[in-house]
């Protein structure tokens, strides 16, 4: 899972597989972080629960 | 501060988030997996220094050399001993699993005394004095012959000590259960004269004609048999196997000749007839035959001609002719007898008839043939000291020729025939035919002393149980026997300290003798069995103690051997199966189940096929042609004149039509869930059939019927 796990090898299989995995995790993490931060910002800026 | 709902919610979420990002979760997850890797209820074997000790296995007559691997004090594995003259590294599954006997928690752990229906633990001192007191009573009533004894075999110093005890006590009533060795001796006695035994040079024979001998099913010395059989491939030696069932031996043989059960003697005689008629015999050998060769020949040609025996035996007369011819013309032929393991019920007619084939082709004491040699004698006991009760007692007649006759007599008599019984290393309540009757007889004996490591069927009937060491804990001389071409004595050594409060059986009998005082005690003056063994084996002790094995004789025996054919010439009757039903139930010997009194080990039971034992049911083998209406693996009721059993059915093309096969060695009923209460003991379903003349129980099977249950 991580390069410090002893099964890890810098071969094509690991790079492709974990490349995809960390890429997906990255998108999800970044997306959620963005949403949460933006929501916090929106909350502080406006205070209405009306606009949609 | 007032905690409102919102701040409570916030605090809660904050706490959850805090814990989630803290290392607590990771730590707990990691710890829990480490816990699963070290569950306290999964044992961790203790490490220690590795050592190997050589010894000899005495679970069966095979007498194989073993190497015991130990970690510190504790034996952890039994393996075959490389270079040993009998087994050279190989080992059978029972020997390998031997430590399961050693550590078995259901062993008899201390001397036990029967109290009503249960046993109570007593000390060795109490046990010995109870036995001695009872025996003293018997002697005081001047009827020492009313002490009887049953042993598994009549070989080695422990058996000799028991016999010595009976002699000095004054009882002639000591018996052994039928073994291959006793059957070989009986055959030798009939054909060649007393005091001899027969062996087969299977390692060299180029044509082995086996009359049902399970050469790879535990016959003789099993590992040696496996080795000899395996070497056939390189030696291009042939094996023809004659028996009703495609046993492993038959399957491994070059040819399987199915024969109707119980007609092996007739088939052997038909082959003798062919050899005589075609003059294929060794004329030099036959010229020295005594007891009426011409009479025998006339009988054979008249009654046992192949054409007449084809119907009886189920073997075509042309096949009889061909096989007899092949046998006679082979360079080093040998005919082997002793169906199955060769122990248990056997007919002397059959044994002698087959052996006569050996005599006819003149292979006695020739390479690859049958060896006739004196019984192994290496023990030198000092003279017994006999008092008058003993000398008188020994003049009395034995209660029976063989053990089963004694039991019959006990069951028939209204007066006690036997006041006390010693049972050593034997389990007649399980191994003898009509096991229920044996139990009944034991119940009628007022005082039964069992020398046993396990609470087996017979020990359960005892009044006193003296727990003895297993072969891993004791010192003992183990002479080879059972048809082995070479004669060696091995030394079983105590590779493990006693696990429980047990003793060497030799020590137990010495203690009893000493407690009886007088002449008996004088005849047992050794400090211990270990001392006794050293002193009674002066010729071989050095070899035994240093090498672990002493070779008494090997190679081809020299000297001529007398052959007397009068037994056959008198045309003894062929034993018939008891009952009237159309099918015949026969026992199957299977290497993975010992047929002797000891139950299989848990490992051995685990290897048993589900076509032999399924759940707690015995599975019987039957040809699909015979099994009309029965389903494969379905339940059936098997009925013989002796009893009924619920079994499962295995439709097997390797079974002769008209025959039902049931494995021996199942159906033990004692307290060990891994090996007991599984299947049916076939000896409950078969009754003894005494062969007239020999007095042997020769029940090769019993008539039976089977129906869907």
């Amino acid at each position: 899972m991580f390069p410090f796990n002893f099964e890890w090898a810098w071969d094509i299989a690991h790079v492709v597989f974990f490349g995809g995995f960390w890429y997906a995790i990255g998108i999800l993490g970044a997306g959620m972080t963005f949403c949460i931060l933006k929501a916090a910002y929106d909350t502080m800026k406006g205070n209405g629960a009306s606009d949609h | 501060m007032k905690v409102d709902r919102r701040s409570f919610l916030g605090l809660g979420l904050g706490a959850v988030a805090g814990i989630a990002v803290s290392p607590v979760g990771i730590k707990l997850t990691d710890d829990s997996s480490i816990w699963t890797q070290n569950w306290p209820w999964t044992p961790v074997p203790v490490d220690g220094e590795v050592s190997y000790e050589s010894s000899v296995c005495s679970l069966c007559p095979g007498s194989c050399g073993i190497s015991v691997r130990k970690i510190g004090d504790r034996p952890v594995k039994i393996e075959g001993l490389a270079g040993h003259p009998i087994n050279d590294g190989g080992a059978c599954l029972h020997g390998i699993a031997g430590l399961q006997y050693l550590y078995d928690p259901s062993r008899v752990k201390t001397p036990l005394k029967k109290n009503g229906n249960t046993f109570e633990a007593i000390s060795w001192e109490d046990a010995i004095s109870l036995v001695a007191a009872k025996l003293a009573d018997i002697r005081n009533s001047n009827a020492p012959e009313r002490l009887a004894g049953i042993m598994d075999k009549d070989l080695g110093s422990v058996s000799a000590l028991f016999k010595r005890f009976f002699n000095t006590f004054g009882s002639p009533n000591i018996y052994t259960l039928p073994t291959l060795e006793s059957n070989l001796q009986a055959t030798a006695a009939t054909v060649h004269g007393k005091g001899q035994t027969i062996a087969f040079d299977l390692e060299n024979a180029d044509f082995v004609l086996s009359f049902g001998a399970g050469l790879i099913e535990g016959w003789g010395s099993p590992v040696n048999g496996f080795k000899a059989n395996a070497s056939r491939k390189e030696r291009h030696a042939k094996l023809y196997q004659i028996e009703p069932r495609l046993s492993n031996t038959a399957a491994n043989a070059d040819k399987w000749i199915p024969v109707k059960p119980g007609t092996e003697a007739d088939l052997a005689l038909a082959m003798c007839a062919v050899i005589l008629k075609k003059k294929l015999f060794d004329s030099k050998a036959v010229a020295n035959f005594k007891g009426g060769v011409n009479k025998l020949n006339a009988l054979l040609q008249k009654t046992y001609a192949p054409s007449k025996m084809a119907e009886t035996t189920g073997v075509k007369s042309s096949d009889i002719d061909t096989i007899a011819t092949l046998f006679a013309k082979a360079k080093m032929p040998v005919a082997v007898f002793g169906k199955g393991r060769g122990d248990g019920a056997q007919s002397l007619k059959e044994l002698v008839a087959v052996h006569t084939l050996n005599c006819l082709v003149g292979n006695i004491n020739k390479k690859g043939g049958a060896f006739v040699q004196p019984e192994t004698a290496y023990l030198e006991f000092p003279a017994e000291s006999m008092d008058s009760i003993a000398t008188d007692g020994l003049t009395k007649a034995k209660a029976g020729r063989y053990a089963h006759q004694v039991f019959e007599k006990i069951n028939a008599a209204s007066q006690p025939v036997v006041e006390a019984l010693f049972v050593y290393n034997a389990n007649p309540c399980y191994t003898l035919h009509g096991a229920d009757n044996i139990k009944k007889a034991l119940g009628k004996i007022p005082f039964v002393v069992s020398f046993s490591s396990f609470l087996d069927e017979t020990a359960k009937q005892a009044d006193i149980i003296l727990p003895i060491h297993t072969f891993v804990e004791r010192l003992e001389d183990v002479p080879s026997c059972a048809g082995l071409a070479k004669s060696v004595v091995g030394l079983t050594k105590p590779v493990s300290p006693p696990i429980f409060d047990t003793k060497n059986p030799g020590d137990a009998i010495i203690l009893i003798a000493k407690a009886l005082e007088g002449d008996i005690a004088q005849s047992f003056e050794w400090d211990s069995y270990d001392d006794c063994l050293e002193s009674v084996t002066p010729g071989i002790w050095d070899d035994l103690s240093e090498e672990g094995v002493a070779v008494i004789s090997e190679g081809i025996p020299t000297g001529s051997v007398a052959v007397n054919v009068s037994f056959l010439a008198d045309n003894p009757a062929t034993v018939q199966a008891q009952g009237d039903d159309s099918l015949t139930l026969i026992p199957i010997d299977n290497m993975r189940l010992p047929s002797a009194g000891t139950a299989a080990s848990p490992f051995a039971v685990k290897t048993v096929s589900d076509t032999i034992l399924k759940g707690t049911d015995s599975v019987v083998e039957i040809n699909p042609l015979t099994a009309r209406g029965l389903e494969d693996r379905g339940y059936a009721t098997l009925t013989t004149p002796m009893g009924t059993a619920r079994v499962r059915v295995n439709l097997n093309e390797g079974m002769m039509p008209g025959v039902i096969g049931m494995v021996e060695g199942l159906g033990h009923d004692f307290d060990n869930k891994y090996v007991s209460n599984k299947g049916t003991n076939i000896n409950d379903l078969i009754g003894p059939v005494i062969e007239s003349g020999s007095g042997l129980d020769a029940a090769f099977g019993i008539k039976a019927k089977i129906s869907k249950a």
Partner: protein, 418 residues
């Protein structure tokens, strides 16, 4: 009493009625939970699995719920990537079903493995060559995606939405949902596929093994395709069941027809591929390993050709045809038959690809192995069903799952149920 939580303008049954319904299903759930704890504490000896049946009922259930849960990713893909806008009216429901299916799948896996406390080794000590590793990674990640897709719907609950932060969060998440959906589709493609790959790579099992493209056997693509094809059937089926139980129309016909049509074409193309695959396997793959087709369908008391014909023809070709033909598609009864057959078909396919593989003897002297699950296995397999019913009931009651509900039921509310 819980009216404050119920979406504005929506009619729901009385709370006691709802509570009783939940209690009944909850009892079944508890039965399953009991069996689950038995399996965890006493071990898998509670099941009737054995060394021939290492994969059994659970793995089938696992594959089946993931297959029918495929409606979520495929509907999401169509909605957010291909901009099929009508589908916004069913996407919430598809996501909830997906969430239920995937959480159930993960739960089943947690029960199925012999060492649940070490289950995370599949991530930590991952063997990237194993299809199951791919399954585990994509499954967990996609479950995260489903959770993310589900969250905005939860945040739209009347009370929750009043909290400004949650309101904004829901709004923002809607804004970037296409990215999440794309990631979800990517992950789904691989885990649906790798579930198919689980069987297809077993080159020791002639019944399972398939040739393929690069490292992926054909079953990889067939599984993805079939999940995309039959997943919407299941979404429609559950929507239909929900409509029946609530007695309300919840989704407009044009949405249903559209999804059914897409499903129909997917099924049809899938089944053509499946037939080609089966023929190739039967005539090229297995003969090269020494097997005849009949080996896999005869000499046992259960698996016959019937299972192949049922899966491919009755539950594949037939629903495909029914759904691509306009007249049958728009006939409610025939459409229902088609989606039911479709759901059965995909479940049967997963059954065959798990259990029949285990049953078929491979060594010439081996025998067929059949097995009957223990009650613990059955209870734990029903557990997700009970859990799903409860979750749908709760979400339906408290969340605005169906955007068209008010429009379709504005005049006169029909009889209510949970």
């Amino acid at each position: 009493m819980d009216s404050a939580l119920i979406p504005e303008g929506a009619k729901r049954c009385s709370f006691p009625k709802f509570a009783i319904g939940i209690a009944i299903v909850g009892a079944v759930l508890l039965w399953g939970v009991y069996a689950m704890f038995l399996c965890w504490f006493k071990g898998l000896n509670q099941t009737n699995m054995n060394d021939y049946y290492g994969f059994a009922l659970w793995i089938w259930a696992d594959l089946a719920v993931i297959a029918v849960g495929g409606g979520a990713f495929f509907t999401g893909l169509l909605k957010y990537i291909f901009k099929v806008d009508e589908l916004k009216n069913i996407i919430n429901f598809a996501v909830i079903i997906g969430f239920i299916c995937y959480s159930s799948a993960l739960l089943i896996l947690a029960i199925d493995i012999g060492q649940p406390l070490r289950g995370w080794f599949i991530f930590w000590h991952a063997n990237v060559h194993s299809m199951l590793t791919e399954v585990a990674f994509c499954l967990s990640c996609y479950f995260a995606v489903l959770t993310i897709e589900f969250i905005p719907n939860i945040l739209e609950n009347r009370q929750v939405n009043r909290v400004p932060f949650f309101h904004h969060l829901a709004h923002n998440m809607h804004g970037v949902m296409a990215i999440f959906a794309a990631t979800g589709a990517f992950l789904s493609f691989f885990h649906q596929g790798s579930l198919g790959g689980v069987a297809g790579v077993m080159f020791g099992r002639p019944f399972a093994v398939r040739e393929g493209l690069l490292i992926w056997p054909w079953t990889f693509f067939l599984f993805t395709w079939s999940a995309a094809a039959f997943g919407p059937c299941f979404t429609l089926l559950v929507a239909k069941i929900t409509e029946t139980i609530t007695g309300k129309k919840l989704v407009k016909d044009n949405v249903v027809h559209l999804l059914a049509k897409i499903s129909g074409w997917m099924i049809t193309t899938y089944i053509i591929a499946k037939i080609i695959d089966t023929i190739y396997w039967a005539t090229v793959t297995i003969p090269s390993l020494g097997f005849k087709l009949s080996h896999f369908y005869t000499n046992n008391s259960f698996y016959g050709y019937w299972i192949l014909i049922t899966e491919v023809v009755l539950c594949g070709v037939v629903p495909g045809a029914l759904l691509i033909i306009k007249s049958t598609r728009e006939n409610p009864t025939l459409r229902l038959i088609a989606i039911v057959l479709g759901v059965i078909g995909v479940c049967l396919n997963r059954w065959v690809m798990v259990l029949q593989i285990m049953a078929v003897p491979v060594m010439s002297f081996d025998t067929w192995a059949l097995y009957i699950p223990s009650w613990q296995e059955i209870a734990t397999t029903i557990l997700p069903v009970a859990y799903g019913i409860i979750l749908i009931a709760i979400t339906y009651r408290y969340l605005p799952v169906f955007p068209q509900e008010q429009e379709l039921n504005s005049i006169e509310p029909a009889t209510e149920a949970e």
